[in-house]
Amino acid sequence: MTERWTYEGFEMVVGLEVHVELDTATKLFSGSANRFGDDPNVHIDPVTLGLPGALPVLNARAVELGARIGLALGCTVQACVFARKNYFYPDMPKAYQISQYDKPLNIDGRLALSDGTVIGVERAHLEEDTGKSTHLGGSGRIHGSEGSLIDFNRAGVPLVEIVSRPDIVSPDQAREYVSELRAILVAIGASDARMEEGSMRVDANVSVRRPGEPLGTRCEIKNVNSVRSLGRAIDAEARRQVALITAGESVVQQTRHWDEGDGRTHALRSKEDADDYRYFPDPDLVPFVPSAEWIDEVRSALPPLPAKRRAALAVLCGVAADTEAVMTVVERGQDAYVAEVATHGADAARALVHVKEAFAELGARPRVPASDLAALVAMESSGAVTATQAKTLLGDLIDAGGGDPAALAAQRGFEAMDDGELVALVDAAIAAEPDAWQKYCAGEDKAMGALVGHVMKASRGQADGKAVSALLVSRRS
């Protein structure tokens, strides 16, 4: 159970607004490519640039991915309307953002954390992204710059904004919410959701209060670039608010930037008119009214979600669902692969460890045939090769894109030692390291290391470390 954050008698109340860029070919309202890393202003069209006379037309794929996100979060998918959010900013071409206001695509969802805590999802709506400004001169930051340059390649890229209810009570919960949300978004193919690259952006609304009191004044933290900083930023902001209140001052509602360098949040110079957005239904677009059949179609196309997949993999491997290997392998989408290895009769837990450790770069469909990995795991389990040798052979399999592990072991001269050889080596080690042997016999378990090391060296790594330890244990008793 994650613990509620408390500090000087205060608790925190946190709600998160997460923006994710959808994995579409084109923008939300026009046919320019949704692509990054190209030269500036090469994915532009009249809509993207807000040219006079331009008209938006809604991207069907973006709507489908938007509904997929809603359904994965248990939302109600409903008839929705696009609205204009009016404000001036140079990276916002029309001086309004097309978003959704009182009739969003998805409402009333939830996201369960590993300990069973449920965080409410108020809404998940579609909207368009802005362009990107680069600030010239000085520090490269917005303040003190000599001017800015604007690239509209990102302008109009489809976003879904997922707004949680203020149900989060600790930095850990916030981190877990975001990690789990990210895992879901990746699993359903909606987004690559990389915080570091900005395809997933998290704003945190933080307030503090004494238990039982009504909600305090909140501040919104922006510019958080990783799950780790999110926790730090929330913690720092809540402490700042507690300090203000206990000093007899009051919290002012404002937007604050997280500064990774000094570990503090900083107020932005805010304008008095900042939140009079004059929302109204965009007359250039018509409502989207999903049919029940369409919603069912999108729902039935949803793949199993990460929580379910982690549970299944954990059962298969006989470990807990929140072990790191399970989390990692599911996140990489390699759980199906592990399951396939197990169908070939291999020890799933062992396969899990190998996949977790060696398959980081191999994606959801590793090029090593499952049957080959299964054969290797079987050799390892039977003692035909040692754990160290298995690792080497796995490297060979990955390099070659598969192969017969027995043949590879033969090529490398990996042959299992018979018991007689191993016993002789252990005897030799005891003779060569009498001090270590005495200490070990006196109950100093650490001393076993020197003896095992001697055997490994003498066998040039071919001895099975586990078997050596077992021999030493039985010899001592």
């Binding site: 490519a33 532009i44 794929r61 900013y89 304008k271």
Partner: protein, 100 residues
């Protein structure tokens, strides 16, 4: 019904719209907008709660396009029309303060 439009209202609205008004302009705008809004009294008397707002004249829904890339505008042609451009980008003077 909202009350009469004031100097402050006009100043706020001008700020939202990024229009500069000198004091004379504000006075004129208060008078002109006030006169238009006075006309609103005739609508104000109507019982409208049961009437559904009409955002668009023709009731269309679900107008969608396929997610297929179309050609981009030519960057040079577009930037040639920009008041200021540098290195393939649109240039603006320093941005102070907060965006939205």
């Amino acid at each position: 019904m909202a009350g009469r439009i004031t100097d402050d209202d006009v100043a706020h609205v001008a700020r939202l719209a990024r229009l500069g008004l000198d004091p004379d302009d504000v006075q004129r705008a208060v008078a002109e907008l006030g006169a238009v809004l006075e006309h609103f009294a005739d609508i104000d008397a109507l019982e409208l709660d049961a009437v559904e707002p009409m955002a668009q004249p023709y009731p269309l829904t679900n107008v969608l396009r396929e997610d297929v890339v179309t050609t981009s505008l030519d960057r040079d042609e577009v930037l040639a029309q920009a008041p200021d451009a540098v290195d393939g980008r649109f240039a603006v003077p320093p941005i102070l303060g907060d965006g939205a």
